[in-house]
Each structure stands twice: as structure tokens, then as C-alpha cells.
Amino acid sequence: MGVIKKLPIYTEKLPGGGLILTSLETVINQAQAKSLWYLLFGTACCAIELMCTGASRYDFDRLGMIFRATPRQADLIIAAGTITKKMAPRLRRLYDQMAEPRRVIAMGGCTIKGGPFYYDSYSVEKGIDHIVPVDMYIPGCPPRPESLLEGCIHLQEKIKKQKLSDWQEK
């Protein structure tokens, strides 16, 4: 019941049961934050760290994050690794195939700004934020699994704070 204690909830005991009241916003946000299924989108070095995070020591599942091989079942792209100019349209297409609400984590320096390939590289996209909107950036080359976990927790906090009215405006 640990989760329920943290919710803004009104509970009342009634004969023959109980009544729980909470805001719809909280329920939706909690649901979204606690089941971020991510797309297996690893291109380079960061993919190995993404694999390590999914493996036994760091265990992504604890955060409710399970890998999906298809964008249609995913809520989140973790762009792990360098995105080249040839790959960029594919990333966009994968993003377009995902259902709303969808989110993007840019993992590693390459996805933020090109990282070590910013200078002198003719084929690396300098940041993925002009291909897809990014919700969270994680620095590192590659980031440690803990950094990735921290980024995901940070993203969950961000999701929990969102307002339903913001969604309408979108």
C-alpha cells in the first residue's frame, strides 16, 4: 500500500466497504509514470549500458520499465547511442509510429549534441532534439546504468507533475 499512501487521497469507511476519492489527474499520471515501456533502440556504445541496466544488477523492471521490440507497444524511446544522418529519418519514423503519450530520453553525449563526434564528423546528427522532442537528457559517454536509472526516475517525477490541461492544449 506504499503507493496509495503517497497519493492525494480522500478515504472514508462506509458500511459494507469503503470509498476512495482522488483526482483523475493523479491516477492518470501515476499510471503513465509507473509503466514506461521502452523501445529497444540501441545504436552504439550506450546500447551496451542499456543492456546492463536491463540485466540483473540494475534491473530496469523495478521501475516498471519493460523493453518492447516494436514502437506500437512502447511509451518511451531511449535513444541510446549516436544518431547519424542516415539513421535520423528512421528515428523520426519510429517516433511517429508510437501512440500518445510518448516520451523520449536522450541517453549519452551523442544524442544531446554530438558528444565526441561533434567536431570533424561529417555524418553525425548534432543532437536529436531537432528530430524528435526530447523530455530528458542524460549526459555521459556512455552514462552509467545508475545515471540512466536516475534519468528515468527524473522523467517519472516530471510526468507525475504534469497537468491534464496541458495535454488539452497539445
Partner: protein
């Protein structure tokens, strides 16, 4: 066969085809004329003493004035290593494909064409494969290449 023996063997058997360059360290580098390349390669592969049947590497080099193609060969059974170098002009360079000798050369030659603009004759599939399909900015590995969104490392 040690490298010294290899050098002796080559100078005895391939006197006209290959010239030793002194730039290579530890392992011999030989210069081969572009028009003789395929014939020499075939001989090297079929030579009973050498058996260079392993195509390790092909790299293009742009020194600013000329193009070079460096073939690194090895032999699975005789445990030998050898490098061949073909010197080409900077513009409109052409080289014969060694695909018929070693099928492994196929992709290396495509890469040489794509990144350096060295035309490979008699190649069965000279198409773009490393760069995006709609690439129209020339041959990026050349020293004088530049593009609007290409950022050079600041000279610090």
C-alpha cells in the same frame, strides 16, 4: 619465412613489379604500379611460397597531393604479412578491382570509391553504402573536403 627472407624472395622473383618503400616499419611496404596491380595480386596469391590468400585491409589515403591505396595482405597458411601501395593521381584516380582475386575486396573498394572518389574499374556493384542515399556533398574523406554543417575542431 621471416621478413628479411620475404624481402629477398620478392626482390628475386618480382624484380620489375614491386619496389620496396622504406616508409614501412617492421613490415615491408611495396609499391605496385596501378596497371600491374591485378596481375601481381594474382601471382602473389597463387605463389606456392607465399600464398597471400587473406585480404586484410584496403585503405585509401589522401596526402594532399596524391591518392594512395594501401592493400594489406596476409597468408593463412604461411603466416606472412605484406603491404602493397598503389600511388594514384589526386583527381580522376582510377584503379582496377581485385575482386576476382579476393572476393573480400568488394566492400573495401566500394568504400574507397565512396569516401575518396577513386573510381574502381570492373567492380560489380559500385554503389553508395556508408553515406546516406541522398548524399550529394562529394567525397568526405578528402583533405580539402568541406561542407556548411561540418565543424572543424578548433585549433587550441
Amino acid at each position: 619465412m621471416t621478413f628479411d627472407e620475404l624481402k629477398e624472395y620478392i626482390s628475386a622473383n618480382y624484380p620489375d613489379d614491386m619496389t620496396l618503400l622504406d616508409t614501412g616499419r617492421c613490415e615491408p611496404f611495396y609499391e605496385v604500379k596501378a596497371e600491374k596491380l591485378v596481375a601481381v595480386c594474382k601471382r602473389l596469391r597463387d605463389d606456392e611460397q607465399l600464398k597471400f590468400d587473406y585480404f586484410c585491409n584496403l585503405g585509401g589515403v589522401d596526402t594532399g597531393e596524391r591518392m594512395e591505396a594501401v592493400y594489406s595482405l596476409a597468408s593463412y597458411s604461411m603466416k606472412l604479412r605484406l603491404d602493397l601501395k598503389v600511388i594514384l593521381p589526386h583527381e580522376n584516380a582510377e584503379i582496377d578491382s581485385v575482386q576476382e582475386v579476393w572476393p573480400a575486396a568488394n566492400w573495401y573498394e566500394r568504400e574507397l570509391w565512396e569516401l575518396y572518389g577513386v573510381n574502381v574499374k570492373n567492380h560489380n556493384n559500385l554503389t553508395r553504402f556508408l553515406l546516406p542515399d541522398d548524399w550529394d556533398q562529394g567525397f568526405p574523406m578528402r583533405k580539402d573536403w568541406d561542407a556548411p554543417d561540418f565543424i572543424r575542431m578548433p585549433e587550441l
